[in-house]
């Protein structure tokens, strides 16, 4: 009796737990009847099924990510770019998704990656590095997205976004970029130095000019001053000397004799003539 009771309880538990299933906010659910999909549009909550006849598969309803690290793509100018990108997708049509991928996320990711890579390849092949990196990044991403969307729909997948994370130049290309950057810096450095010597030269030249002008002006002014001094002096001399020209001539001459002759112990050869010597030979008064 007791054993029967326990048996009934266990059976009831198994039946109930097999006829109820919970669909989470984050999940899609598919109900099968002997392998055939009979219902796919479940709302979150508690739902029922017939045990052993129906079974249920659940898939994520959330936005999912596929990260693809370091894939090599060629640009228009045949440069190698390593591209990191990620794909944002979610399951849109659960039934279609189950049919095309068997409900395996890895399979879905594989299929998606193939189509997205094709899209990237063709978008990159149309563009140069600089266009991919900078000018048309948006367009590249949009192009990738639209190219892959059609294929994704066939998988029951909604492709939300394809985004390039990282675009890296391959070894030799990045080395040439580094070289260019070095040259650029070197150019910048020499430009700075040249600017330095430019401003230094200008400053020096201005200073030299200022000095020259200062000195020239000073020379001009000093000459003017000297000139006016000379003029005043000449005026004073002439006013005084004009009183007796003959006496001035005499007076100035003997002053000049005194100052110019005999100062360096000159040797004078004298013949004893002249008024100075007149009493040397003779004490008679001269008429």
């Amino acid at each position: 009796m007791k054993n029967i009771l326990i048996f009934v309880v266990v059976i009831a538990f198994v039946v109930i737990s097999n006829s109820v299933f919970i669909v989470d906010e984050r999940e899609h659910a598919l109900k099968f009847r002997f392998g055939e999909v009979i219902k796919s549009d479940y709302e979150p909550g508690i739902h029922f099924k017939v045990p052993f006849v129906n079974n249920v598969q659940k898939y994520s309803k959330q936005l999912l990510t596929i990260n693809n690290p370091q894939e090599l793509f060629l640009t228009q100018e045949k440069k190698n770019l390593y591209v990191d990108f990620f794909i944002k997708w979610k399951i849109a049509d659960t039934q279609e998704y189950y049919r095309s991928t068997g409900g395996d996320e890895l399979v879905a990711a594989q299929r998606l990656l193939e189509t997205v890579k094709d899209g990237i390849r063709s978008e990159f092949a149309k563009r140069t590095v600089i266009e991919v990196v900078s000018k048309e990044r948006r367009e590249v991403m949009a192009g990738m997205l639209s190219a892959a969307t059609m294929n994704a729909e066939n998988l029951g997948i909604e492709l939300i976004d394809v985004r390039v994370k990282k675009i890296e130049l391959s070894g030799e290309v990045s080395e040439s970029v580094y070289n260019r950057m070095r040259q650029e810096r070197a150019r910048f450095a020499s430009e700075l130095r040249a600017e330095g010597s430019e401003s230094a030269t200008i400053i020096r030249a201005e200073a030299a000019r200022e000095r020259t002008v200062l000195l020239a002006n000073a020379y001009r002014d000093s000459e003017k001053i000297r000139g006016s001094g000379d003029a005043t002096a000449a005026n004073i001399y002439s006013t005084a000397f004009n009183a007796d020209k003959e006496f001035y001539s005499f007076h100035r001459s003997i002053e000049a004799y005194k100052n110019s002759i005999g100062t360096n112990n000159d040797v004078l050869i004298l013949d004893g003539k002249g008024d100075f010597f007149k009493y040397l030979k003779d004490q008679e008064p001269i008429k």
Binding site: Q62, L63, V177
Partner: protein, 371 residues
């Protein structure tokens, strides 16, 4: 040691006369109660009165089960309640109750704490340079429902999106812009782009701040960058040196100019004073001369010649009537006088210079000017 205080080396557990609690006894008692619960006619009918009745156990179990629905939400958190996996409500901080498992469950999300992560990324700029950027992103999970449900691993998504966004923004900017004045702008644009993308995905995450902590040249070009920095210093140094030079020569020239003016002024004053002096001397002498012209003239003449002859070496020749040729060793004479000069230099010069000074100087400076 405190355990052994009772002495005899006995542990306190042995206080009950060395007998452990009888586990078997307890188990047996519970078994009986369990049996009565299922209405079994167990052997324990004689023990029926012992222990609480079975319905009390059920109520107790039910009570504990209901109590397990209590949960506490911190001030910075929100609780998201799911009923059979379906979102039912968001609860605010405090003590709340939900229907216990398996009916409802709660997931707690901290919506106020600001998380941050740092990313160092190498990227290409629009002028095809490579730079290294340190990006710090601060965010919080502002919408707990979106955060929990919409995106699988929302935080990883945030990191991917920010990496993509900073590259997109930097890829549109020039190197110098990123490195210098563009920092704040780039951080802002990156923040906008991240937020916009996150909103498109419905991650429920709000970016509070994006900081461009550091933007630098890659290590590979470090030497050249250092040299450029040095060049900037060189540039400034050159300018400073030139300015120092200018500051040196211009004031000196100004001083020189002032000196020239002063010299000219001095010359002018001097020339005028000299002329006045000489003119006055002449005028005064003239007055005397006019009073007695002949005597004065004679006196002046003789005095002058006397001075001239006094200072010279003289050779007096009486050539009258003697037509014969005469040999004069002038060079010897000059030599002699030079020697004499040199030996008597000090005395002679001292005198002559003192005598001649005013006139000489006057002449000298005039000569120089004229030249």
């Amino acid at each position: 040691m405190a355990f052994n205080d009772q002495g005899n080396g006995k542990s306190p557990w042995d206080a009950n006369n060395g007998q452990p609690p009888d586990l078997d006894q307890i188990v047996a008692e519970w078994q009986k109660r369990f049996n009565t619960l299922f209405g079994g006619k167990s052997s324990g009918s004689s023990n029926k009165r012992k222990g609480p009745p079975s319905y009390l156990l059920i109520i107790m179990g039910l009570f504990i089960w209901l109590l397990s629905g209590l949960y506490q939400i911190d001030d910075s958190e929100r609780g998201v309640v799911l009923r059979f996996g379906e979102y039912s409500k968001t609860t605010m901080p405090g003590l709340s109750w939900r229907a216990p498992w398996p009916f409802e469950s709660v997931e707690i999300v901290n919506v106020n704490v600001v998380n941050r992560f740092k990313q160092q990324t190498t990227m290409l700029t629009s002028d095809e340079n490579i730079i290294v950027v340190d990006l710090v992103v601060q965010y919080r999970k502002s919408n707990p429902v979106d955060y929990l449900f919409n995106v699988r691993d929302a935080e990883a998504t945030l990191s991917e999106v920010s990496e993509s966004a900073i590259r997109e923004v930097a890829g549109k900017s020039k190197l110098d812009f990123v490195l210098t004045e563009g920092r704040t702008e780039i951080a802002l644009r990156t923040q906008e782009l991240i937020q916009q993308t996150l909103d498109e995905y419905g991650t429920g995450i709000s970016i509070t701040k994006v900081n461009l902590q550091d933007a630098n040249f890659p290590l590979q070009v470090e030497d050249a960058v250092q040299d450029a920095i040095k060049a900037r210093e060189d540039k400034e140094r050159l300018s400073f040196e030139a300015e120092a030079y200018a500051n040196d020569i211009v004031p000196k020239a100004r001083g020189e100019a002032a000196k020239m003016i002063q010299e000219a002024e001095a010359y002018k004053e001097k020339v005028i004073a000299d002329s006045e002096g000489e003119a006055d001397r002449f005028t005064k002498l003239l007055v005397e001369y006019q009073r007695a012209p002949e005597v004065t003239r004679e006196r002046l003449y003789i005095e002058a010649i006397e001075t001239v002859y006094l200072n010279s070496n003289k050779v007096l020749m009486d050539s009258e009537g003697n037509g014969s040729l005469m040999y004069l060793p002038i060079d010897k004479l000059l030599e002699n006088t030079n020697k004499q000069n040199r030996s008597e230099n000090n005395i002679n010069k001292g005198q002559t210079i003192e005598n001649n000074q005013p006139v000489n100087q006057n002449q000298d400076s005039r000569m120089r000017r004229v030249r």
